[in-house]
Amino acid sequence: MPESSLDSSFEFRLERMYAEAPALADADLFTLRVLDRVDRGWTARRLLIGVMGAAGGLIGGFQLVSSGAVGTLAAISARSNAYLTQHMSDQVSGVFAPASAVMNGEVLLTAVALALIAAGFGVARLIREI
């Protein structure tokens, strides 16, 4: 037999020997350890996302409050409300009083908080999908 054929036949045999894996006795335990680490990875990722979302929400909320945007919006809202009330009462006297449309600071902060929570859920879902 030519030497090259002997070489390739030995190499083929060697590959086969490598492929013949001995079944290790603790294979099930090893599987559990890997799955445990997979789960820990997911838990850590979820925690990280949660912490980052909370930190982002706090920073965003703080920036919003400290910039005076709430007061400005409340003033604008109050002016619009007065304008609306005056004009609508001229048109439909006593039928509709849009008092519920007042945009004050509490309403705005609640809306911002809900938007942040929704955004947090959305980002968490998006990262999980990725």
Binding site: E15, Y18, A21, P22, L24, F30, T31, V34, L35, R37
Partner: protein, 196 residues
């Protein structure tokens, strides 16, 4: 997307590719079945590369975690086992180079003896593990990368960050030693050479 786990009996009879698809969609049990099927092979390869059992297990775990992270990239062009084995072998090489600080350029002929001594009992079956002990650590890693993990010489050279020629010569020397040990009558040949 997370999904409801597939029944265990169905997983046991499923093909690797089907399990990969399920695992890519977040089925943890399907990935567990893949680990159960191929964990021993990956750990065995790392031990054959020269890793201590505990180190082999650590690297194998890291390799399966990496495989889980990248499972969507597995296109099924080769076997799943071969894919994970390549990941594990590369991870082990990184660790081995960091910890052992091996000089890949060193001539290893003296490390394990260029002339392979006959085995302790020529009639006894000499398995791969025993035969690999005749190789120097560098030869062992190079041969295992190419014949165990299925890397080409160029890929092995890239993984080892070594010149291609160096890797080829380590592989050749390792193969010569293994051939002397594993070929039918290899030990007899050695003995007859000694007696001549």
């Amino acid at each position: 997307m997370a999904m409801a786990p597939t029944p265990k009996r169905r997983l046991e009879s499923a093909h690797d590719l089907e399990l990969v698809g399920l695992a890519a969609r977040g089925d943890r049990a399907a990935f567990g079945e893949l680990v159960r099927r191929h964990g021993s092979a990956v750990r065995g390869l790392l031990r054959r590369m020269g890793a201590e059992p505990s180190a082999a297990d650590d690297v194998a775990q890291d390799a399966f975690l990496a495989a889980f992270e990248q499972i969507a990239e597995f296109r099924g062009e080769g076997a799943f086992r071969a894919w994970v084995s390549r990941i594990a072998a590369r991870l082990y090489v990184k660790r081995w180079r960091r910890e052992a600080r091996v000089d890949l350029m060193a001539d290893t002929d003296d490390a394990a003896g260029a002339e392979v001594a006959p085995g302790p009992n020529a009639d006894a079956r000499i398995d791969l593990e025993e035969a690999l002990k005749a190789l120097s650590p560098v030869e062992r890693v190079c041969v295992s990368l190419c014949y165990g993990a299925g890397l080409s010489h160029a890929e092995a050279a890239a993984a080892l960050n070594a010149p291609l020629g160096t890797v080829k010569s380590h592989v050749k020397r390792g193969l010569d030693k293994l051939r002397a040990r594993l070929s039918p009558g290899g030990d007899d040949d050695q003995r007859s050479k000694v007696s001549a």
